[in-house]
Amino acid sequence: MAKLTLKERFKKSTSGSGESAKAGKFATSIFRPGSPFRKGYTDSPRNRSYVVMNNVLYHLHPVKVKRHGVRLSYTLCLGGMSFFLFIVLTITGIWLMFYFRPTEMAYADIQALQTSVAFGSLVRNMHRWGAHLMVLVVFLHMSRVFYHGAYKAPREFNWVIGVILLFLTLFLSFTGYLLPWDQLAIWAVTVGGNMASYTPVFGAQIKFGLFAGLEATTATLLRFYVLHVLFFPFIIVIFMAIHFWRVRKDGGISGPL
């Protein structure tokens, strides 16, 4: 190793990621050392670690993952896809909330959204198909996990969290189903509510609590709306956080088979 003066050594050890210290102060304040968005970023094993470790990403991903786990053919990215869809649904859903009132006006609002709001129809379609897709993808993710036996020790409890996530996804989708307040919405939800009323012992109470009455009315609409935009998203985010955390704590992706 070439001999270095102390000054050079200092310089080397303090600018560990090899970026030039000349990069703008402002950009440097945003992107932490190792970020590819920093000036003078170089591709090195050390910087590859920094990209994850020095960023908020570290809350989601470890620095390194098993080689077989990154093969698309192992997870099919289905869990990640469920999460992406949830994000897309959150964004489009917030956007839809600007144009929607959970009252007698609900139907008219949806009509107006489709006809007189720029991209209204597209965003509504994205929210609706995205929701159907999410139910499907979560289900496929569960099947993928089952066929890989990925629920076995030490991942038993993450499977339980997963089952809760599946039901929360279904509830989210079901409560959203009523909101357009058309014939499809009200009768599908009535059928669903009637199924719930077959619960032994408190069937009638469950339906009454769910519908805020004996049948689907605008009171039901408000109730479903609050559950859909606030309650279930809140709960599912908590469970997703636990789910992702457990994936890491249980030693990353299972396998290989």
């Binding site: 990640g80 949806i110 036996g149 809760i164 009200i186 599908a188 199924m195 619960t199 088979l257």
Partner: protein, 298 residues
Amino acid sequence: MVDIPEHLLLRSAEARAKALGISVEQALSEMKGESTPTVVEEEPEVIEVELVTPPEAEVPAPVETPVVEEVKAEAPAPVETPVVEEVKAEAPAPVEVEAPAPTKAAAPAPAKADTPEEVEFAPEVKVTQRLLTVVKAKPIQKAASEPVDKVNTWPHLMLPEFISLMVMMAFLIILSAILQAPLLEEANPNITPNPAKAPWYFLGLQEALSYWDPQIAGVMIPLVIGLIGFAAIPYIDRNKENNPSKRKYAIMMYTFFLAGAGTLTIIGVLFRGPGWNWTYPWIDGIWFDDLLDWINFE
């Protein structure tokens, strides 16, 4: 260059001054780059010390009497014994090994104190180690798992993730552009459509409801099988294997479930018409308003 707090700079300057035998002011100015550094060449030697240490650790045995023999006895099986602990105990003070300066001679004294006359056996050997403990042949820390082949998350995981996100977004946007979500007439509690169908993911259930007592189909299936049964799977299936050929029964059961649920759902979606009577989609049409636009696709 990052600004180094003055007190830290001073502290390291003191250390450097001591190591090189120069004045603190001199060291400080060198570190700030104000004057040419003295004898930097000596520094690599510090690294060499570490390299020298391990063989040394085994040499001074005679000083320490029988107990050390025990340690030695274990040395031939270094793979299982972290006897190396001893060497480590040494490492923090590597300077002493190298420099037999008179000032530091005091250090080994306590070790001598509890060892009897044998010390005379090799007076020129400086005691540089002491027996702290004898570590059993069994490792106290066992590696929980084999080392695994890993790759950096960036870019090997995040790039595929990003691409999947893009593909999914593209798919969703294109789908939403060509397929219109249904919006029927305004809700009217007085007009019941025939048939009234639940959302598609409940249609398998609705289909099952038409066969069995609603208390069984409507509640027992979703609640007991769906929620409790599914959540309990990892606790029921105690087979540790995850190789498909060694868990045929579990795979068979799940596949049965998939096939059953899939069949019921497809029947509910495509083969049920007014009055929940059996219809053929290609003869009687499809009653599935979720995909209204697709069913009437030019």
